[in-house]
Subunit: 210 residues, 4 copies
Amino acid sequence: MVKAEVSTVRTFSPNNGLVEDRRRQIIQAALHLIAARGIQKTGIREIARASGMTIGNLYHYVGTREDIIYLAFNYGIDRARKLIKEINDLCETLEPREALKIAIDRYIRYHHANWEGTVFLYKEMGSFSPSLRLPIIETNSHLHDVFIRIIKKGCKSGVFKATDTDLVAGTIVSMGDMWALKRWYFKKNYTLDKYIDSFTEMVLSLISRT
Amino acid sequence: MVKAEVSTVRTFSPNNGLVEDRRRQIIQAALHLIAARGIQKTGIREIARASGMTIGNLYHYVGTREDIIYLAFNYGIDRARKLIKEINDLCETLEPREALKIAIDRYIRYHHANWEGTVFLYKEMGSFSPSLRLPIIETNSHLHDVFIRIIKKGCKSGVFKATDTDLVAGTIVSMGDMWALKRWYFKKNYTLDKYIDSFTEMVLSLISRT
Amino acid sequence: MVKAEVSTVRTFSPNNGLVEDRRRQIIQAALHLIAARGIQKTGIREIARASGMTIGNLYHYVGTREDIIYLAFNYGIDRARKLIKEINDLCETLEPREALKIAIDRYIRYHHANWEGTVFLYKEMGSFSPSLRLPIIETNSHLHDVFIRIIKKGCKSGVFKATDTDLVAGTIVSMGDMWALKRWYFKKNYTLDKYIDSFTEMVLSLISRT
Amino acid sequence: MVKAEVSTVRTFSPNNGLVEDRRRQIIQAALHLIAARGIQKTGIREIARASGMTIGNLYHYVGTREDIIYLAFNYGIDRARKLIKEINDLCETLEPREALKIAIDRYIRYHHANWEGTVFLYKEMGSFSPSLRLPIIETNSHLHDVFIRIIKKGCKSGVFKATDTDLVAGTIVSMGDMWALKRWYFKKNYTLDKYIDSFTEMVLSLISRT
DNA sequence: CATGAATGAGCTTTCATTCAT
DNA sequence: GATGAATGAAAGCTCATTCAT
């Protein structure tokens, strides 16, 4: 696994706990502002104000503006990793149908709670150097693997029929992202619960044997 | 239909044809650069250089940097509208299965050829005023309608079975977008043709009767 | 007398009459605009538009933006010189009281008709090189001389009593300028005619022998 | 009285005292430069340099270039108001002749010390919006009132004879301005003291009974 | 003669970053 | 630890001027 090098980011404080706290404030503020007005219009001054610090203070905990983007990036990847682990733990012992249901549920709810992060990741993907893009590509693969594994297991056990598993998994991952990216569209006809239910049903009807 | 008010953008030239040409150059350059490095890092100087004009000349045809974003935005909407019309014209007389196949084909190929525009739209969506977002929301709806209409027609004629038509259409639209947004992922396992074939098959297996 | 070197200003046209016509248009437009919004905000494009020419055409008759200022400057000086000559001619044969009355009348009416030029001269004075300032200083002296001569003549002939002639003349010249510079103030209580009458009376009461 | 809304001008500093100090520096520098070379040729970079600040720092205390003009404007009005108050206080108890002498003396000395401000006001008057011009029109009226009141008092007490009081006051105010506006002319024949003496004598001879 | 597209130096302004207090 | 004054490179934009048509 590619290690997220958060420690690369400069700080003047020796107090690790404080650093982490302050950075969390900063990241939250940044995600918020960027989701609202875009990266271009989000300056350090505003991020500082929104995190309840002064500029000078903010720079105690963060080296550059880019660092903030980078930290937010890492934060997103971290949450995705935790999600993956959580889903895997949760589904390990369940039978495939149930596992898939729960996995989809968790996954979409994650995007629901975390939409600013999702939007941010899609916006910023392109502006990072390939080497920094690697962790997200990798994590994205892991996410696909979660669903692929469940489906494959179901195929083996005979509950699911053979399909293009990759594509089905890809569709699930995509439709989760879309709940964040296109909430302005889907919210017209769906509540979160209905979206999850309908989508789950659709996926199951697609891969269920008989 | 919400009219795209491109004429709002200031120009010093009385020659309409020229204005349109130059703006096309500018938009292309901007889409290219923004898709590649993000908005933040795309300055006017670079857009000018990439459009093969000098800064001063660029400002003959465009009022502000924001205008460029706005024009690119409109350009994207325009292309989407043309696509919708094209698909509708093409599929009107076909039987539903065939119509759906062709519609998906055109739609995904559109994103393939136009991925920079798609990426741009997703990146910028958030930074526009609600009133400017309206046209894209509307056009997006029209796009959904294209697929909804075909599916509904197929249901009526008995080729397709009843499902959550909205969601199926939403999935189709989303997976087209994703071919542009996540080409770095899907290109690992799919060529354009294979992606289209596989996805079409998946959709058909989902909604076909028997 | 310092000659106004209008011929210094570049033109591409060999047709002297046309050049003069066009320049008059330009000067008028420039004076108008500058009086209205100030020099800073008066660009060549606007001067061109206001003179009913295109930029390119304007540059056929004028070398630089500074040239326009310079021409307007010269135009002002020229008009002042003509005024001086006119007053001198008119008053030569009159008896001092009458001469003074008529001189003041002409002088203030001149500022009334020409206020934009007067305002312009006061504004621009400072921004010219000393050598270019010379003609206006000289012309201003001549203007003072007009009044000084009349008053002196009146003293000699016994109609006027001895005073600080310089200062009286200076006051007359100044109050003419002020009718242009502070028209927003004086117009509250005075019409042009009343201003002339009152001021003439004041001057006469000041210098008349009993 | 129209309140000078200096507080409208943007600053990034929370330290009011500092803001005032820095702005004073800026205004002084601006008046100096503008009086010397005209507004057109006075750029922000020069104002910054002349105020002993860097550009970035200057923009901590001032929002735009226009703001500087506006502040200088207000500064001029403020000084004029203080002058008016000072003269009124000084002359209240004096007998009219003495009062008038002192008022003229203070007034002209004020222009002598403050000529850059006077020149600036005359140059910029025209380029302000009517609403911004209001305070200066009003202050100018108050200035006239100072002299009108003294003269009227003298008429009542019998020291001065009836004349067009408005016009006499207008002449006094104008000749004060002229000492600043046309110092290049008057300094040829007058020192400050001689100008004041001569002018005072002229005014007194004009309005004194017998 | 007239037009207006093109140029690019230079202007105003912003903003990430530093550092004395 | 916290503050915000100061810096200056660089961004967006303007505008006098040229020149091909």
